[in-house]
């Protein structure tokens, strides 16, 4: 990488900011801090960060409206930092245009994994999977040319919609995809809110892909929010 990635940390708590900047700097990122929504907005414009880590509970401006106003003119990745209980806020933030979220409390490894994923997707490297024609992790392969998902080389036998769900998840692998987004993309706007339809399809996919549906290796449930597919195993693809 020619330059250090610059990351904007937006949080009104000094302690959290310090802890996050320490992690970021030790990982080789450049950290910029903003304590209020106004500062954050100014910093996005003037400092041109590569990624924003945004706490939703800011003193001056509601986090959701910050996301919306940034999204009016910029595709910069935004990762929301949120408390566990607020799953509705997470969904609203993702719908407003946030790329992903991380739940407090988190450790250094979790934070840098989320940042890596978001940066990778933003820099278009995640498009590699599409260009390479396949997504691969562990024993799971999704072949976009053959329209087929396979486990250890054996066709998993997904139906058309099940395959489309997997394609959607794999194109955003590592990031969370909300229930409503999946429903809208696969079945159309009238299906939004039909959680059972999605759950039944996900259950079928799990039975075809996971060894133990209740103890998954690939597709993870984010309670009240959506699903996250395990990130691609890049070493394997290029090996």
């Amino acid at each position: 990488m020619p330059h250090k990635c610059r990351i904007l940390v937006v949080d009104d708590e000094n302690g959290i900011c310090r802890f996050m900047t320490t992690i970021l700097e030790s990982q080789g990122y450049e950290a910029v801090v903003a304590h209020t929504g106004a500062e954050a907005y100014a910093a996005v414009v003037s400092r041109c960060p590569d990624l924003v880590l945004l706490d939703l509970g800011l003193p001056d401006i509601d986090g959701i409206s910050i996301i919306k106003s940034i999204r009016e003119w910029s595709r910069i990745p935004i990762v929301v930092v949120s408390a566990r209980m607020h799953e509705k806020d997470k969904v609203t933030a993702l719908d407003a245009g946030a790329d992903d979220y991380i739940t407090k409390p988190f450790g250094p490894s979790e934070l840098s994994a989320r940042i890596r994923t978001a940066l990778r997707h933003a820099q278009g490297n995640a498009g590699d999977a599409a260009r390479a024609g396949k997504y691969q992790t562990g024993d799971l392969t999704i072949d976009y040319d053959k329209h087929q998902a396979s486990i250890s080389g054996v066709n998993a036998g997904l139906t058309r919609n099940e395959y489309r769900i997997m394609v959607l998840l794999s194109r955003h692998a590592g990031k969370v995809i909300t229930h409503d987004y999946l429903l809208r993309e696969i079945w159309g706007p009238h299906a939004v809110g039909n959680n059972q339809l999605l759950r039944v399809n996900m259950a079928n996919i799990r039975r075809k892909i996971e060894k133990k549906p209740a103890d998954p290796e690939y597709i993870f449930t984010e309670p009240g929010v959506g699903y996250r597919l395990l990130e691609e195993d890049l070493f394997k693809r290029f090996a």
Binding site: P105, N195, L197, A214, P216, F220, E222, G224
Partner: protein, 362 residues
């Protein structure tokens, strides 16, 4: 408290009660007038009607309304001249005033008693809340003291300490802080259930609920083997997924922390059909037993909160966690229990009712 400051609020139900009371009183007087010439019972019956209305309706308004209605009914129908208003009878103004006064005072007194009852209920809730707050503050103080102590030692004796000593203190700080976070999450669960809002239950897939709980547990306790077993078919349960997730996490952590010398934890779900279809969750460890004396009181918030002397530091947090579990299971219409296994170890079980219709619908 609702409408405490508003003596009058238009409500179809209250109006109906008032009207009904007057009608019943009129009928009663009508029936009674067949049996005797005396009309002294009429005012008494109408006073009773005022009392009933004040008791059953909100605020003063309907009581007062009934008083006036009663007064005119008595004058119009049940006192001589019948079916005519006559306020000129000798002594009638006095009767009129007395009856109005009595009705108004009755109405006011009843309303006041009602308000006092509400205040009393509120006071009891307040007492419960402050008890809970005291118990929690007490529980939170211990880890906080340990964090403050450990970090002070680290800052003040920086130069004299070995790396291992530093590491041990840092670990202690992290563990205590994580414990605090878990407790605060439990308290947030309580606030999620309290208040006027109904908990947001949805049809959730059992395997997803179990899947993310297991994943979370493994992340926090990578050293403890967890075995998961649930029925193979897709099962929907109608729950607040965050709250039931909290119950499972609490019980798993409880099994991990308090089950000394354990080698494995099992999380399983089975379906039961006796007495309505339900899912039975069980969390088992193969560690040491819980003291038989404690078993019946594990989920009993009041019993546990009260006995300050009994708790050891090992039990701290267990009480908050388990009473929160019990509260969550209760609002879901289920049951929770704990038992020592004859093969060694402890089993926590809770059941959640399954909705038959939801099972069949896609």
């Amino acid at each position: 408290m609702r409408n405490k400051k508003r003596p009058f609020r238009l409500s179809a139900k209250d109006l109906l009660i008032a009207a009904l009371a007057i009608v019943v009183a009129c009928l009663l007087c009508g029936v009674l007038s067949f049996f005797g010439k005396s009309d002294t019972h009429a005012p008494l019956i109408f006073i009773l009607a005022v009392l009933v209305v004040s008791r059953l309706t909100e605020g003063y308004f309907y009581g007062v309304l009934t008083s006036f209605a009663a007064l005119f009914s008595v004058n119009f129908v049940f006192t001589y001249p019948y079916f005519a208003f006559d306020f000129t009878l000798s002594g009638y103004p006095l009767t009129f005033c007395t009856m109005l006064a009595v009705s108004l005072i009755t109405s006011a007194l009843t309303t006041q008693i009602k308000q006092q009852e509400e205040l009393q209920i509120e006071a009891e809730k307040e007492k419960l809340r402050s008890n809970l707050l005291r118990a929690i503050s007490h529980d939170l103080r211990t880890p906080l003291a340990s964090i403050v102590g450990a970090s002070a030692v680290l800052l003040e004796n920086e130069k004299e300490m070995t790396n291992e000593q530093e590491h041990a203190l840092l670990e202690e700080i992290r563990d205590d802080a994580s414990w605090l976070i878990r407790m605060v999450e439990n308290l947030l669960s309580v606030t999620r259930m309290a208040g006027e809002t109904v908990i947001s239950k949805q049809q959730e897939a059992l395997e997803e609920l179990i899947g993310f709980t297991a994943q979370k547990f493994r992340k926090n306790y990578p050293a403890i083997p967890l075995r998961v077993s649930i029925p193979n078919e897709l099962i929907f349960i109608h729950v607040d997924v965050i709250l039931i997730g909290q119950v499972l996490v609490n019980l798993l952590e409880n099994a991990a922390i308090h089950g000394k010398s354990l080698t494995e934890i099992t999380l399983s779900v089975t379906l039961e059909k006796t007495g309505g279809k339900k899912a039975v969750f069980s969390i088992e460890n193969d560690g040491v037993w819980i003291d038989e004396e404690f078993l019946p009181h594990l989920f009993d918030r009041y019993g546990m909160w009260g006995k300050e002397g009994r708790k050891s530091d090992g039990g701290r947090g267990m009480r908050i966690g388990l009473s929160v579990c019990a509260a969550i299971i209760k609002v879901h219409g289920g049951e929770i229990s704990a038992e020592n296994l004859s093969t060694g170890g402890v089993r926590f079980r809770f059941s959640l009712p399954l909705d038959e219709e939801a099972q069949n619908a896609p």
